[in-house]
């Protein structure tokens, strides 16, 4: 029905409902509507033109971080050097699972890969990661002692990666809410160790966001950017009904590119982010 008639207040209402229910948030939705309303007040905007306007605006918001960095829209480890990718984020969003998927992608793409069990706190976190590592035949570096210092695990893993000429070191970290200052400081310490021990490594610090979460995602991005020096976002659980609309606020406020999409619990349920596909799914 959107796109059948020229743009009107009624169709703006429909667009507002769609965006709000997709977790785009009140402020970002208002910005989108303002732009459309201004066009509507200048001239008649026919239905299909309105849809294209909307899609372009949404896509541009998501592509802006990559454009502003002049970065490669496709993230891949750089061949022939050490790449270190950290998975960070709040509890239960899919960091460990995503890491498992990335390890598999790395192996299938011909990279030598190593995984570090940086979550030394949660029950059976290391066992969970071990299963994922085994699924791709990737070795795991872990510290078996109870409540080990995650920094120590990362220290050991970087040493192992450097001595074995590993191309991609994937570091799992414990889930943590951004309101916990001591845990955010622990993460900052892990990041400092990476920078200090491997100054020549290509480092990616990826915030894992759960598409089913609401407006808190933006607060997470801002806080984790401070502690872990983020370079990108992975948006998980897009196989559910949630549309991940918080991605717009995160892209525009934190200027972070979305790098991958998690769409399932299986080994292959990960793909590079594509803003065209994302916006189509959002408006479906």
């Amino acid at each position: 029905n959107l796109g059948d008639d020229p743009l009107s207040e009624a169709s703006l209402d429909d667009i507002e409902t769609l965006l709000l229910q997709a977790d785009v948030g009140v402020e970002a939705t208002d910005q989108v509507l303002d732009l459309l309303r201004r066009r509507m007040n200048e001239a008649v905007v026919d239905g299909s033109e309105a849809i294209n306007l909307l899609k372009d605006q949404l896509r541009n918001l998501l592509d802006a971080p990559i454009k502003s960095m002049g970065a490669n829209p496709l993230l891949a480890p750089q061949k022939g050097r050490l790449n270190i990718w950290l998975m960070v984020g709040v509890n239960g969003v899919g960091k460990t699972t995503t890491l498992g998927k990335l390890a598999n992608l790395a192996v299938r793409s011909g990279y030598s890969c190593l995984v570090a069990a940086g979550d030394t706190f949660r029950a059976a976190a290391v066992q969970q990661l071990q299963v994922w590592a085994d699924r791709s035949g990737v070795p795991l570096v872990a510290n078996p002692s109870a409540n080990a210092d995650p920094a120590a695990v990362v220290f050991d893993a970087i040493g192992a990666a450097q001595s074995k000429d590993i191309e991609l070191l994937l570091v799992d970290t414990a889930g943590r809410l951004q309101t916990k200052n001591n845990l955010m400081e622990e993460l900052a310490k892990v990041r400092r160790i990476v920078d200090r021990l491997a100054p020549d490594a290509a480092v990616e610090s990826l915030l894992v966001l759960d598409a089913s979460q609401g407006q808190n995602g933006l607060r997470q991005a801002m806080a984790f950017a401070k502690a872990a020096g983020l370079t990108g976002v992975v948006l998980t659980k897009l196989d559910g009904t949630a549309r991940g609309g918080v991605a717009f606020a995160v892209a525009s406020e934190s200027n972070l590119p979305i790098r991958f999409i998690g769409a399932g619990e299986g080994l292959r349920d990960l793909r590079p982010f594509n803003s065209f596909e994302f916006v189509e799914a959002l408006l479906a």
């Binding site: 239960g92 969003v93 029950a123 059976a124 969970q128 809410l177 609401g214 659980k237 559910g240 009904t241």
Partner: protein, 292 residues
């Protein structure tokens, strides 16, 4: 911020003699924005606003109370009332064991909540058996067993090669035979649109005839809360909810959506990663949190 927006909402009412058709709608517009910022699902916001509007316009003028104060009080009271007045405790069956079934999306906090409830019951002098029926997630059974050891509460499972409904059934049998007064069944996270997994949940439910089905929901959840609750309620039937990760700074608007859509009370909140971090749900505190 929500509280700022709420102040803005009632600023329009300051200096007015009473709440009227002329001034209530702009105040309600701000409340609507505030609730959406708090992640309350849009349809729930709409019906809540409509109810508040009716009550606000129908309210008697209270001597000495300005309209803006009266409006704030009304919104707050309405929120508390919708979320269920007094606290609702965990079910207790007439015939032991009480059976509790945990359900919800991936990563919501079900396994942790299962252990938390086990400890909560232990502290009340009750004897819980935790049943590890998640055969999908790597090391899920290990996770519950590790938590059980930490709190010295027994965990039962048949292992990841068994069917979840068989594990649940065998767990209940053990619970009966060995005189546990409560059996809590942990299940795999699942999407409400995953037909085969929802059918599995229905089978697990049939196998153990629970006295309590708790929907475990991450308090950071967005608009999806209403649809999630509706699907689980229609397909499985929920009797209560646990709202987790309340130690964060999410507004937790899902609390309103869950209650509105299912009528089920939120019974507990998770307030941390540790097994001790479980508290009863208090509607007045939640109302203040949602409103900022």
């Amino acid at each position: 911020e929500l509280s700022q927006r709420f102040e803005d909402a009632v600023r329009g009412l300051k200096g007015e003699a009473s709440i009227s058709e002329g001034n209530v709608d702009s105040a309600l517009k701000d409340v609507r924005r505030a609730l959406l910022d708090a992640d309350v699902s849009l349809p729930v916001v709409k019906s809540f606003i409509a109810e508040v509007r009716e009550k606000a316009l129908g309210a008697d003028v209270v001597r000495g109370v300005s309209p803006d104060q009266q409006f704030i009080k009304l919104v707050h009271e309405e929120l508390v009332e919708v979320m269920g007045g007094a606290n609702a405790p965990l079910a207790k069956a007439e015939q032991s064991p009480t059976v509790v079934l945990m359900a919800g999306l991936q990563g919501a906090g079900k396994t942790t909540a299962t252990a938390k409830l086990g400890l909560h019951l232990k502290e009340q002098g009750r004897r819980a058996l935790l049943v590890a029926a998640d055969t999908y997630r790597p090391a899920a059974i290990d996770q519950l067993q590790t938590l059980g050891q930490q709190i010295d509460v027994e965990v039962f499972s048949l292992g990841a090669d068994a069917k979840p409904e068989a594990i649940a059934e065998a767990g209940l049998a053990k619970g009966r035979e060995e005189g546990f007064d409560t059996v809590i069944v942990d299940t795999a996270g699942r999407l409400q649109i995953d037909t085969s997994m929802m059918e599995e949940m229905v089978r697990i439910r049939s196998a153990v005839a629970p006295d309590e089905v708790l929907l475990v929901v991450d308090s950071m959840i967005g608009q999806e809360a209403a649809d999630l609750t509706r699907s689980f309620h229609e397909q499985v039937g929920i009797t209560g909810a646990v709202l987790t990760k309340m130690d964060g700074d999410s507004r937790g608007g899902a609390a309103l959506s869950i209650r509105k859509v299912s009528g089920a009370p939120i019974k507990f909140i998770g307030t941390g990663e540790k097994v001790e971090a479980l508290q009863p749900f208090h509607p007045e505190r939640m109302a203040s949190r949602i409103l900022g």
